[in-house]
Amino acid sequence: MTTIETPEALSVITKEAVVDLLYRMADDELMIGHRNSEWTGHAPILEEDIAFSSMAQDEIGHAHVYYQLLHELGEADPDTLAFGRKQRAYRCAALVSLPKNDWAFTIVRQFLYDASEQVRLAALSACNYSPLANLATKLRSEEKYHMMHGRSWILRLGNPTEKSHEKMQAALDKAYPYATGLFEPSEYCQPLLQAGICPTENELKSQWESAVAPVLADAGLTIPASCKPVYGGRVGKHPAELAQLLEGLQLVYKIDPSAKW
């Protein structure tokens, strides 16, 4: 299969599928980055406050470059895409809309999410659309650190005391069905696969399971049996918590779309 170098060289259906994929990835990054930034000034210790805030910036930075890629594909400019859409136009999974909750939930969610990004970026770095392949390759280094960070926290909070284990297990029970919802199948799965852009969501999900299972097992945590994935986000059906998130995220933009800060 030949490499596609420019937006113009994409077929109509492939372009539509790439646009959908990028919206999903960008919106996930923007929302989880925003949720994580809610810890700034409140994280358990100063060092982690700085580290976690930095990682929130990383995620929002990823959202920005995905929105730029979308802009090159004919979508609106990054600010409009980030701040100027109606709720139903966002394509983020429900996982990233949920409030930050306690530190256990935040760490578990971030770990499950980062692992999904890791497998997706690994696949995309070898994809046929070179602007996306190049970007994915670049972003993987930050994700590598995020995984080190997540793994370190998961292992330390999963095992040590009964109370901490209980909190982590409860967090995993809550987050896991939402995390599997990151891999919501869509009509674009086949076009993306056939164009050599992205493996199917089912394939990515099984890679993701292989990545998270050993770490969770080492941490003494049990993956909930038979959990039903929470779908809907990829087609614009969001939990109520996204409205609350967007209210804060879009506040300044709604007052003055040209505001600079």
Partner: protein, 104 residues
């Protein structure tokens, strides 16, 4: 109340391969691996970095400031300093050039 503070780790930062690791500060962490994870964002988020070291502060044995006078030189020891030796002109010229570049 019990002290819930984690152990202090001293952090050493290397800007590029071959450079010395330079002391940049400390982090609190429950163990060395976590200290590395946290040190990365505290001390390598702005400047270039290829390698970090962390060392438990408790592993460092230091001199007492009360004994600072052991570093004094009671007699002229200027012969120990490199400017006391003749430096070949070419080396000095390249050093001057390097210093000038650093100023720019």
């Amino acid at each position: 109340m019990a002290d819930t503070q984690w152990e202090v780790y001293e952090v050493f930062h290397q800007q590029s391969r071959g450079d010395p690791h330079i002391y940049v500060g400390s982090v609190h962490a429950p163990d060395a691996e976590m200290a590395l994870v946290l040190a990365k964002e505290q001390y390598a988020r702005r400047q270039a970095c290829v390698n970090l070291w962390v060392v438990p502060a408790s592993a460092i044995l230091a001199t007492e400031y009360a004994d600072e006078d052991i570093f004094d030189r009671a007699t002229d020891k200027s012969y120990r300093e490199s400017w006391g030796y003749k430096t070949p002109k070419t080396i000095r010229a390249s050093q001057d050039e390097g210093a000038k570049r650093d100023d720019d």
